[in-house]
Assembly symmetry: C2
């Protein structure tokens, strides 16, 4: 429950900083989706913008324990439910939930369910290799296939993501992102998930000829609904 | 020190949510002032966006203990130094520092020093009554006078601030803010401090005929400098 108030809204804990700009984008979406006329109408959000989390794309980098410690600290500071503003870091979702004892509003599950709701059968995902593995699993569980970039293009996509992390969201980068999406559509995708939180900073529905799914936007909408009690919170692991 | 890293940058704890949009504005400024090419170049920022803090303008509202508890939790989560993204809440600065044991990068002091550095003698401040009391004290300590709105205009100013909190930063609100600033200049102010974090959301240097000081912007620049070790951290209370 939120500190210093008799209201019943839940406090959201956000594991962020991967990268920092994507976390601000997520926080901005959270606020814009909250029906609020006064400060007090907003939900309480505890955020750890930790850009020092070891690289989520390297096995054995130690990202998991750092994320678990961050999650435990957010629980201690008053969070009731967690969100992770990074697709790739969901590889450590179980550890994060067990370390904190809090339920997680899962971004990969949220985006995958949105693809299903739009009738998708083969979903193109732009994401890191770790995120693609997670999406393959979640999409398969709902009888959808995954369409990915060919290896050389995947490497180029990652180079573009690092440009966005360095602050470049100009026309050149936007064109590159639209081209990766076009590759996936040419490969048979009937929906596109911008499955890296940096991706929606440089692309949108207008850049894609199929349904465009921004996992961060959908996650933000779900977080607001859960924290305001309009949607049930997910069950905690082991609960 | 930042978690999961051998670097020596300090982690910043931010007491926020008063209001939520102003906190995002502060976080955006923090990021934009950080010289960063990769995620890891950014500083770690732990933020409590708590819009449920009792009204900072009401004596005995209980805001102090809530802010102190938030500060303690940020210390527990890994913050090395604190900032408060709200001018008015600085009324509880001592309590916040004693409860957390952490030094505070003080926004009121930062803005007052900036006015002195620009050669101001009489400083107009747009802020809540509590914030005006703080500015009067800090400005006097540096031999500067305070220019405030007459009581009726002060009430109108607060009504405009609540419009901004409700999301209105349109032309009407901008004109009102510029008019309050003009009142202060007519009253003899040779510099203007936008001393409420909502104020800079609806005004800027172009709206004022004297030096315009945005405390949140200056605070963000100082926080980045302190966390990157380019400027010494303030001493902790009692240290």
């Amino acid at each position: 429950m939120a500190e210093g108030s008799s209201d019943t809204s839940l406090a959201l804990g956000v594991l962020g900083g991967m990268g920092p700009a994507a976390t601000l984008d997520f926080l901005t979406k959270l606020q814009s989706f909250t029906p609020a006329k006064t400060d007090q109408d907003h939900i309480r959000v505890l955020v750890d913008i930790n850009p020092k989390v070891p690289d989520r794309n390297l096995a054995g980098s130690g990202a998991g324990p750092v994320l678990a410690e961050m999650a435990g600290a957010l629980a201690g500071a008053g969070a009731d439910v967690l969100a992770i503003a990074c697709n790739t870091a969901h590889a450590h979702a179980d550890l994060i939930q067990r370390a904190s004892g809090l339920p997680l509003i899962d971004m990969i599950e949220t985006a995958s369910s949105a693809a299903r709701d739009r009738g998708a059968r083969r979903v193109g995902v732009l994401g890191t290799k770790v995120a693609l593995r997670l999406y393959r699993e979640y999409l398969a569980a709902q009888a959808m296939g995954l369409v990915t970039l060919e290896p050389r293009r995947q490497d180029e996509f990652m180079a573009t993501i690092y440009k966005i992390k360095a602050g470049d969201t100009g026309p050149g980068v936007r064109r590159e992102m639209a081209d990766y999406a076009a590759d996936l559509v040419a490969g048979g995708a009937d929906a596109l998930i911008a499955g890296c939180t940096e991706a929606p900073l440089a692309m949108g529905p207008k850049d894609v000829r199929v349904a465009f799914i921004d996992p961060g936007e959908l996650l933000a909408r779900r977080c607001v609904a859960v924290c305001l009690g309009l949607e049930p919170a997910p069950a905690a692991l082991g609960a």
